[in-house]
């Protein structure tokens, strides 16, 4: 099978039914996608397949054959962060960081689909992603800020009230 990951083509052996996640982590040493549950329930394994978010722990490698796969490593590098990455840093949207790579990819796909700063739409897009640390509000704020095209001062963090269930996104 041929898997193109972050623009680099890899020939992989093994079963077409092997989860893409295991091929990425164990055969190819690409560690950004995480094994949170191996059941598709947490979102931490999410990668983009031809630009669309998929659970790599559920996706048979055979179905990824010939596609363009993007992992978190395919977003910006530290010296060249994409807006969504900058937003997560500036809004303190990652604590332990284990859910972050999945969140970022799902969020980037949302933005690529023309996603707006509407908190409900963001929640719907990220509905499959579980975070145990942040309580989600700063993640939603970060995605909203990126959707608005805000620029981010990475030497400091955002100030102000954040999205809550009660205020539905009001500042």
């Amino acid at each position: 099978m041929n898997l193109t990951i972050n623009g680099i083509s890899h020939e992989v052996a093994g079963s077409e039914l092997a989860p893409l996640l295991d091929v990425l982590r164990e055969e190819l040493g690409i560690m950004g996608a995480k094994a949170g549950c191996h059941q598709g329930g947490c979102g931490s394994c999410t990668v983009l397949v031809d630009g669309e978010p998929r659970r790599s722990c559920l996706l048979p490698a055979g179905y990824a054959d010939g596609t363009q796969i993007t992992t978190v490593e395919g977003l910006g590098a530290p010296e060249n962060l994409m807006p969504i990455q900058q937003a997560f840093v500036h809004y303190y949207a990652a604590q332990c960081g284990f859910c972050t790579s999945g969140m970022l990819l799902a969020a980037q796909a949302y933005l690529d689909r023309g996603g707006t700063d509407d908190p409900e739409a963001i929640q719907h897009a990220l509905a499959g992603h579980v975070c145990r640390c942040t309580g989600y509000s700063k993640i939603i704020d970060a995605v909203a800020a990126a959707a608005r095209g805000d620029s981010f001062d990475l030497t400091t963090t955002a100030v102000g009230k954040h999205t809550t269930m009660a205020n539905g996104g009001a500042e």
Partner: protein, 456 residues
């Protein structure tokens, strides 16, 4: 000061958003073997047979360990907290909770390790199990722990954590009403997105490098050294970013067993729990049963509190006595209650052993106390915020365990809450402070309370 008070981003924020943060499972060492555990399918049973020979001889299997391989057969190492050992690291004669580890295998692949676990021959004789802490005290209930069904090793070999303060009988006589409530928060699973995981590498110089997801690096180092009966300098523990812990990654649940496999196989070993193991077998926040009876006056003074707490420790003690002790020290919450009668028990059941989780021991009692305050306000027909302000801790009031408060922020906090939710307070409540009580805020029943206590 450049940092205190400044809004600075996380030092690892950029690493997180570029996928460069290294978690234990991201550590990739050539030659690493997969570990898998044989776990008890029963809640309570005697082990009648344990034969690992078939598993050991399977191709691709490098090591199998049982209790026999553990130099100090104890889970955790809590003698420093005064808690004697009650739990074997790997089950010996019996199992007391579903999921309890009995043996571990290290093999060439996850698939082979799982097949080897299936090949271990194990026999059980089931025993009756106890799940309801309220039944633990019945003589007809099964006895499920070598110490009896509740922990008997508090100071002075007491089997109950007690606080006594003032004169509870007098408080109940003087009260206009007794308000009662029973509060039973359920267990909570930490559910960190990263499951329990450990990687151990035997080094050429005879040391072991342990990549651990622990929240308590030096504690875990000490625990493992004690289990392995080796000096601390034989182990190098590498912590780093924990993928969520919340109290559930203090138990040191994987490190020792991974070390034993690595030593026996003389190969690096990784043990990564599945999400199912994490849900079924990892320790949880404990369920609690709390009964409160408060003696109150009709104008909202709390004269006394009589409380019984049962803490569900699960099958073994672990940190529970410590958690219950903290719980007892905080059992009046943010309020000054002069007469106290608290009894707390650490009760064993055949459930997964419980452990710390954010606010260990105290969140349960906060929940009970605050819900109960609303109940009191309701029964007396009083405003729930005013009744809190009246009884709130002030300078000089004492905690259940006799510590005089030097600067409690209760009054200010409640006033801020009232303002934030648009709750109008009468002028005298709006101007309350945490200054030592005088005048109307120091009624007779509190006079002797300030600066006095009794308990253990």
């Amino acid at each position: 000061m450049k940092v205190v008070g400044a809004r600075i981003p996380r030092y690892d924020g950029v690493a997180h958003v570029t996928g460069r943060t290294t978690y234990v499972d991201d550590v990739s060492v050539p030659g690493t073997l997969w570990a898998k555990a044989l776990r008890s399918p029963h809640h309570h049973a005697r082990i009648t047979k344990l034969d690992t020979s078939k598993a050991e001889s399977m191709p691709g299997v490098h090591a199998v360990i049982t209790w026999k391989d553990v130099p100090l057969l104890e889970y955790g190492h809590l003698a420093a907290l005064g808690i004697p050992a009650d739990e074997p690291l790997l089950a010996k004669d019996e199992v007391r909770y579903l999921g309890q580890p009995i043996a571990l295998v290290a093999a060439q692949s996850e698939e082979l390790a799982a097949a080897a676990v299936d090949a271990i021959e194990v026999g059980f004789e089931e025993r009756p199990a106890l799940f309801d802490i309220r039944q633990a005290f019945d003589s007809e209930s099964p006895k499920i722990h070598q110490w009896g069904n509740w922990y008997p090793h508090f100071e002075g070999e007491m089997d109950v954590r007690q606080i006594r303060k003032g004169d509870i009988e007098r408080a109940f006589e003087d009260a206009d009403t007794i308000v009662q409530g029973v509060y039973r928060p359920a267990a909570i699973e930490h559910a960190p997105i990263e499951t329990q995981v450990c990687q151990v590498v035997p080094e050429p110089n005879g040391r072991l490098t342990i990549y651990s997801c622990t929240q308590a690096l030096y504690f875990s180092l000490g625990v493992v050294a004690a289990h392995l009966q080796v000096p601390l300098n034989k182990l190098k523990i590498v912590g780093g970013t924990t993928g969520g812990g919340f109290g559930g990654k203090v138990d040191t649940a994987t490190e020792t067993m991974s070390c034993l496999l690595a030593m026996k196989a003389n190969r690096p070993v990784k043990w990564r729990w599945t999400r199912e193991e994490e849900f079924l077998c990892s320790s949880t926040r404990a369920p609690w049963h709390m009964e409160l009876a408060t003696a109150v006056t009709k104008d909202g003074w709390i004269l006394g509190l009589k409380m019984l707490t049962l803490h569900d420790s699960g099958a073994y003690a672990r940190f529970s006595p410590y958690g219950l002790t903290k719980h007892s020290f905080h059992h009046t919450g943010a309020y000054s209650i002069p007469n106290l009668h608290f009894d707390g028990y650490v009760v064993f059941t055949n459930r997964t052993p419980t452990t710390a989780m954010r606010g260990f021991g105290v969140t349960s009692v906060s929940f009970a106390v605050e819900t109960h305050m609303n109940r009191i306000a309701n029964e007396l027909g009083l405003d729930p915020i005013e009744i809190r302000l009246k009884n709130a801790n002030r300078i000089g009031d004492t905690s259940p365990n006799g510590i005089a408060y030097t600067d409690p922020s209760t009054v200010e906090t409640i006033q801020a809450i009232a303002e934030a939710i648009g709750h109008e307070l009468p002028a005298d409540y709006r101007t309350m402070t945490n200054e030592p009580r005088t005048g109307e805020l120091l009624p007779e029943h509190l006079v002797s309370q300030v600066g006095s206590t009794e308990g253990h």
